[in-house]
């Protein structure tokens, strides 16, 4: 991905030098292995810190919400779809942003990589199709496609859907026969199995709200869990309250989620919160033929009413 890094730095430095934007949002090298940290560059010198690698799992569209400046942003496929949703939902204006599009070749899953070792990974490096991981006692070289992030394995929008310039040629989109095998697996469970699956999923939740705060869609001035007059949800570990938070948040994302995986990346307890949103994405596609954020001119289905809307699922 070195060519991507070079190009991002070059395009960013030029944008800042020409004063086309007030600042640019991208990633810089993290202080620990396999971390890419969101970075703001206001000068060409600061743009020299931008990088791009298989660890850019967060969604930078999250940092655009309600800003008033002219902003440059490095966006991969899913990020760009969230930018489209932001534009439709009036959280940012198209004229404000200059999108440096990144044709994405997938991110790697850091829970998969850490499960390969008993100790902490001390060093990470990558080539186009493999990664090398070192610990205190040894090293492993692994093909990238064995540790790809789950959402990247089913991604059909790797290329940015909206951009002002690209850092590389567009990549071929994947043809995926089965987009939602994980959702079907849960759909086919019995009611008890489903209940246990979701109880087990949420049992370690510490209500840190990293999932909510990392998500570009979650921008309510006061989230429903923070309301006090009246208070809808308790703030402790009561399992009903934990479930309420997750289930309701997922519904707020219905028809808007791009499956970028930032929620899972952010979660310190490695909870796969995508189990909630994926089902809603599947329903969106199958019931309304809708995928979020592909087109600035189309509003999401739960946002509009048309007499032709399917309603055979209403019993």
């Amino acid at each position: 991905m070195d060519s991507y890094t070079t190009k991002i730095r070059e395009l960013s430095a030029r944008l800042l030098k020409d004063e086309k934007v007030d600042f640019i949002i991208g990633f810089k090298q993290g202080t620990i292995p396999m971390a890419a940290s969101p970075h703001i560059a206001r000068t060409p010198e600061q743009a020299e810190q931008f990088i791009w690698d298989n660890n850019c799992r967060l969604n930078l569209a999250n940092y655009l919400t309600d800003r008033k400046e002219k902003i440059g942003i490095i966006a991969k496929g899913c990020d760009s779809r969230n930018i489209v949703t932001h534009i439709i939902e009036n959280k940012i204006k198209r004229e404000q942003i200059h999108i440096i599009g990144v044709p994405c070749q997938g991110m790697i899953d850091k829970t998969k990589t850490s499960s390969l070792f008993d100790e902490e990974i001390t060093e990470y490096s990558e080539t186009d199709d493999s990664i090398t991981l070192k610990t205190l006692s040894g090293e492993k070289n692994i093909p990238k496609n064995e540790v790809l992030n789950s959402n990247c394995t089913t991604c059909t929008h790797r290329n940015p859907v909206i951009y002002d310039e690209l850092v590389a040629d567009l990549v071929e989109e994947q043809i995926i026969d089965d987009l939602f095998p994980d959702v079907r697996r849960i759909e086919e469970m019995t009611a008890d199995e489903k209940w246990n699956h979701f109880e087990d999923l949420l049992k370690n939740c510490i209500r840190c709200y990293a999932c909510r705060n990392a998500c570009p869609l979650c921008y309510c001035p006061t989230c429903f869990v923070d309301e006090s007059g009246p208070q809808w949800v308790g703030k402790g570990q009561d399992t009903t309250d934990v479930r309420t938070f997750h289930y309701l948040r997922a519904y707020h994302c219905a028809g808007r989620c791009t499956d970028c995986g930032a929620c899972v990346e952010a979660c310190p307890m490695d909870i796969n919160v995508r189990d909630f949103t994926r089902k809603l994405n599947k329903d969106s596609l199958e019931i309304y033929g809708w995928e979020a954020g592909l087109d600035e001119t189309n509003r999401p289905p739960l946002d509009v009413y048309s007499p032709e809307d399917p309603n055979d699922f209403i019993k």
Partner: protein
């Protein structure tokens, strides 16, 4: 000082024996990570763990804790009169706690046990707990505990410190509580004091040599609060922060909490739950006025509290034990080591 050798073949039996007197807690593997949890019958602490995602503070200071109850049923004579709930302060032992987590408990105690007030929930739980620590032979890459006044073999805050010697543990018994626990397990093979002290010293030096991460804190005290507070680096430093509560919840020395009243039919309960200074609501007045309305203010508050206010207030070093959990878990990789070095080296431009 007493030293006890524990053959690992006797370990399981000894621990089970202590169950008669103590509730046991220790590291437990859950999916791919370790947590410090209550040890069910026949579950041993996973002594091979490197670090737990969450700190051990939840043993003394649970995330959600009931404090008081009251009945709202006006037909009862004591309606609307709050009472303390029954707490379980029977002896407990945390086995395999890391030295930095035990030191962190001592820092927490400065907050919960003061000259003017004593928090009975925290203090009673703390006093009922015996801390059986496990020295870290091979510190991980995020461990910077030697820069914060503790270290991989530091015994500050512990009742017993265990050294893992492959086929056995060597236990350094530090307090009466520690001796009582070791006795309850039936571990009674005394080791030579002089040899043991020497061995611990060697292990400590080896482990400390392996600490790869360090921070500078020497100049923090001499700077004034206002010059650090008004420094220009906070804006860009806080840019990536998403104001979740991850750093505060995994941190062993963070103690901020919220008090919430919850009602179910006619019973009300007052709960204490962890809260985070990262939350926009943390300082929001009922009128809507918020002294820390912006993200930069909140991020700055956290680091100023940990690295400056606490240092000035208690003169016991910084409010960090170098466990590295926040460094590992922060979703956007804001690194307290970097922030500390920036603060320590900051010189105000004239």
């Amino acid at each position: 000082m007493k030293f006890i050798t524990i053959d690992k073949k006797d370990w399981a039996n000894g621990i089970e024996k202590s169950r008669g007197i103590y509730q046991l807690f220790g590291p437990v593997k859950d999916k791919n990570e370790f947590f410090i949890k209550h040890l069910e019958k026949d579950t041993l602490p996973a002594m091979e763990y490197d670090n737990s995602v969450m700190s051990a503070k939840s043993i003394i200071f649970p995330q959600t804790e009931k404090m008081l109850t009251a009945t709202l049923d006006e037909s009862q004579e004591d309606h609307h009169i709050m009472k303390k709930i029954e707490t379980d302060d029977t002896p407990r032992a945390v086995i395999g706690i890391r030295p930095y987590d035990a030191k962190a408990m001592k820092l927490l105690k400065l907050n919960f046990d003061t000259d003017d007030y004593r928090d009975p929930y925290w203090c009673d739980a703390y006093e009922a707990t015996t801390f059986v620590g496990l020295g870290i032979n091979k510190p991980g890459p995020f461990d910077f505990s030697t820069s914060t006044g503790t270290g991989p073999f530091c015994d500050d805050g512990l009742d017993v410190l265990l050294a893992d010697l492959d086929d056995k543990y060597l236990a350094k018994v530090l307090t009466d509580k520690g001796a009582a626990f070791v006795g309850a397990c039936g571990f009674d093979t005394v080791a030579d004091e002089k040899e043991s002290l020497a061995l611990f010293d060697i292990l400590r030096k080896e482990a400390e040599k392996n600490i790869a991460s360090h921070i500078e804190t020497d100049k923090l005290k001499e700077k004034t609060v206002l010059e650090l507070h008004e420094a220009p680096f906070w804006d860009d430093l806080s840019f990536s922060c998403i104001n979740c509560g991850t750093c505060t919840y995994v941190c062993p020395t963070c103690w901020c909490f919220d008090i919430q009243d919850e009602v179910k039919q006619k019973e009300s309960v007052r709960l204490r739950i962890w809260d985070t200074c990262m939350s926009p609501l943390f300082t929001r007045h009922a009128t809507g006025h918020n002294p820390r309305a912006s993200k930069t203010q909140r991020v700055r508050q956290r680091f100023m509290h940990k690295l400056k206010y606490f240092l000035d207030k208690y003169d016991q070093g910084i409010m960090c034990v170098g466990c590295g959990r926040c460094v590992k878990s922060c979703p956007v990789n804001i690194d307290i080591r970097e922030v500390c070095n920036i603060m320590n080296s900051y010189e105000k431009q004239a």
